[in-house]
Symmetry: C2
Subunit: 417 residues, 2 copies
């Protein structure tokens, strides 16, 4: 029986056209991060399972039900990282004393969740993580949102294409405190809040959970939270720095327990893709898990699948252009040998050049180059070998230019712009 050509369930193959889009997304993320002074780091996808276990109830569930966790042959429990933040916190904690702060780090790792595959949720996806350590003030909150905004702009998005919804988990907890909620009530309330604007009857559901009096008190308190000095200050600063699409939204809670201040989510405003694209927030206490002193931190994660959906929805995906600029099409073996020398010279001038060694008819070779998306070809036969002159043909336009060997690179670069 022959082997299946299917990939494993819920993961993707990246053919050159797919990888091109992936790389386009990563490059935009990287450019924006580096303009903000973020440096790239990385870690293995293999982590001790314990790393995901100590952050409270919600994460126990994560380790048990939603991660790839297995026992290795040395009897170690290993997890394929479901998110990057714990690895990052581990790395920062490990060198807490040697590192210089403020620390700005980014990475675009693949992360794994054992979930039923569905739109925007695969078992493996890539996720930009950008984090700023060592700044407890509002400047870091402002900067991390500026960066999120800059990435969206780098994608070619207009401000009207997306909205940045901000909230503050510490302020939210302060609002909840006088209500003296039980742990179950707290969790139910957070879940209701998170779905507030999709809920058919939020007020009614809240009253059912907390009783009429506490529900009313909470709704009133949320209104005053929305106009709190802290969140207004954040919005004003963002506005002064060119961000005009940040709004306060007290329904933003974020899933993870580790957030201690700012939380935010970036939403797609398109009617047919109206959903959270990504988000993040402040998590000042995470490093304490490693027995370390508190290090203030703020960051976010942005997945490749939602990014691609966003670009697709807003028609911002670039057309595929292969890395190869030129293909040489020798007509026979003798011309092939010559083509290899010519190609070596062109490579030394930084031309990206492939060769078709099939010696098939020129028409067939041109069709193959065209199918590969390669923009320029040069047919090499007896005439070219004897004259030393080469005709560069642009496949899209059919335009031809005949030049000497040492003018090919210049001609291509000026044509490619």
């Amino acid at each position: 029986m022959s082997l299946s050509t299917e990939p494993y369930k819920g993961v993707r193959d990246f053919y050159p056209e797919d990888q091109f889009v992936q790389q386009y997304i990563f490059d935009a993320m990287q450019r924006a991060c580096e303009r903000f002074g973020f440096e790239e780091y990385n870690a293995s996808i293999l982590e001790p399972a314990d790393l995901y276990r100590k952050k409270g109830a919600a994460n126990d569930e994560l380790v048990n039900e939603q991660t790839y966790t297995f026992i290795d042959r040395g009897d170690r429990e290993v997890t394929l990282r479901p998110e990057m933040t714990p690895s990052l916190a581990r790395m920062v904690a490990a060198r807490r004393r040697e590192l210089a702060f403020p620390l700005r780090w980014y990475s675009i790792p693949n992360v794994f969740r054992y979930e039923r595959p569905q739109r925007g949720r695969l078992r493996e996806h890539w996720q930009l993580n950008a984090d700023l350590f060592g700044v407890s003030g509002i400047e870091a909150d402002v900067e991390i949102i500026l960066l999120a905004h800059a990435i969206m702009r780098e994608f070619g998005a207009k401000e009207s294409d997306f909205e940045i919804r901000i909230n503050d988990r510490r302020l939210l907890e302060e609002v909840l405190e006088p209500l003296t909620l039980t742990e179950t009530e707290h969790r139910a309330t957070m879940r209701l809040l998170d779905g507030r604007y999709k809920h058919k009857d939020f007020d009614g559901a809240l009253a059912e959970t907390l009783g009429d009096a506490r529900a009313l008190a909470l709704i009133t308190a949320l209104d005053s939270l929305a106009s709190s000095a802290h969140l207004s200050d954040l919005q004003t600063r963002l506005h002064e720095l060119g961000v005009n699409n940040a709004v306060v939204d007290t329904s933003i809670t974020r899933g993870f327990d580790y957030y201690t201040g700012l939380v935010f989510e970036v939403f797609d405003t398109a009617p047919d893709n109206n959903r959270a694209l990504f988000g993040g927030g402040r998590y000042d206490r995470l490093l304490e898990l490693f027995g370390d002193e508190t290090v203030p931190a703020v960051g976010f994660g942005m997945g490749d699948v939602t990014a691609r959906d966003f670009l697709d929805t807003h028609d911002l995906l670039p057309p595929y252009v292969p890395a190869t600029e030129l293909m040489l099409l020798p007509v026979d073996e003798h011309a092939s040998t010559h083509a290899m020398k010519l190609a070596q010279n062109l490579r030394s001038e930084d031309v990206t050049v492939a060769i078709n060694y099939s010696c098939k008819r020129t028409g067939d070779q041109i069709r193959s180059a065209d199918k590969l998306g390669i923009p320029f070809v040069i047919v090499i036969g007896e005439k070219e070998l004897s004259s030393g002159m080469y005709t560069i043909k642009q496949l899209a336009s059919g335009e031809e230019h005949t030049v000497a060997a040492n003018r090919i690179a210049d001609h291509l670069f000026s044509s490619l712009g």
Copy 2:
């Protein structure tokens, strides 16, 4: 109890300085591949375990003993890919009819082996894979070696720093055929051959395995193989294309069973690191596993760990330079707010710029920037705010230049070259 900051056994954390080297290696590989017209692809690290099982006895061992293989919750047997070639073959087979040939693909995936960690052999490493499909002629063999050579040159290696040892598995099998070896003898002979030049008494060991007569016959046949027309032709062509360090070495066998022609290994010539760096060869029949017609293929894999060791041995590693060119050092909160605006302007001019929000003493802030490796700083205080003139300080030289805000970017770019 607090969490450990150790990574999982046998894998690495990449702090920015480590990631910088990693990226330097990947960039060199990528540049060389793309100059040869190779396009990037990728796949998931998760593959059905069956993918590694059908290639014969040697690979059964691989699945059972040297891979991370586990059962997922849907009762599927999953393997963390130990090498990229099977995924690549799977992808090409899946679109055999739509793809245009010749196909040149590269990828730099991480791969996993469950081995005892030792120098140059970790449980996770990255590995460039470059493969050329659809060319059965010697041109493809030449090209793939040219590419391997080009990558080494791209690393800054001289030809005397490494040696390309070539052999041919088909010719080797032809030499072995008249000896009518049993399967056990065949395996023992290949293993002996592979260690020929490290063996204290190769001839004696061979005689013990095959008997005197067959051992002698084999050694004579190997001598004639070394001067075969095919390998001489390959060497001549390489020489004409600028490769002067390729030698025939009949002890090169390569581990994998799937090779059907050319095999080669690149060796470090340094006395203290005299070992195979990487290798590859021709595997024309691999796609048959997927029930597909034969597609000729030739390629190689090059690991990051051995590449880094090579660069280290030959003193070719570049010094760490962070992505961040400039750090702004505001003296107080008022100056911080101003610094954020200045930074936004500089980012729009493509300067990579970080800000220190600590409001610590300038000396402390400069030390922090220096520790981060950031080459330039600008202190921002009352004087800068009122004058609109900024002093750019280069930390390495101590040189200072005072310019207006709109001249900062130009000054940096000219200083950075």
